[in-house]
Symmetry: C2
Subunit: 101 residues, 2 copies
């Protein structure tokens, strides 16, 4: 299990987080543990196709996992991967938390 991120991967994941809708989706996924696409559509003021696209971005960045369940797709946060990102970011930003004058 690789616990280290390349700069490119870290950037890819940050980029996926770089849209308010996608942060909202991730937040909801962490809150509800499991969500189908339709549930997200209820919450965000966006069309279903747009939400589906945002979910795809998050999935391709490796931040969430989607598994097909009959006619639906059930999404959940990839906590392992998110923890990896958290580690990488805190490593990057740690100088800001310590050497504060």
């Amino acid at each position: 299990m690789d616990t280290d991120l390349t700069t490119v991967d870290a950037a890819r994941m940050c980029k996926a987080l770089g849209h308010p809708a996608r942060i909202g989706i991730l937040r909801q996924l962490l809150l509800e543990e499991r969500c189908i696409c339709g549930r997200i559509v209820e919450i965000l003021p966006l069309a279903q196709s747009t939400v589906s696209q945002h979910l795809k971005v998050l999935k391709e960045a490796g931040l969430i996992i989607g598994e097909v369940e009959g006619p639906r797709t059930c999404y959940c946060a990839d906590r392992q991967r998110l923890a990896t990102l958290a580690t990488a970011l805190s490593a990057l930003l740690s100088p800001c938390l310590e050497e504060q004058p």
Copy 2:
């Protein structure tokens, strides 16, 4: 001093981090404390105008500060702001660090 980020602001900052070159720039800035644009140009395989544009993105997202020093501009990481981002992200991602099965 506002220590809380709106979702929009967090997304804006993540988006600014969403490019390998900009992560590299930030890393260098945290390493060297102060850098002029030309120093970054030495390190990254990018044209000066491109680097300048990336610096602008980072500055507009509030991640770095640039102050004019004669003919140069000296950039440094906005550690205060980066700490705020670190806090917001760890708040967002904390469920991934705790509830790991």
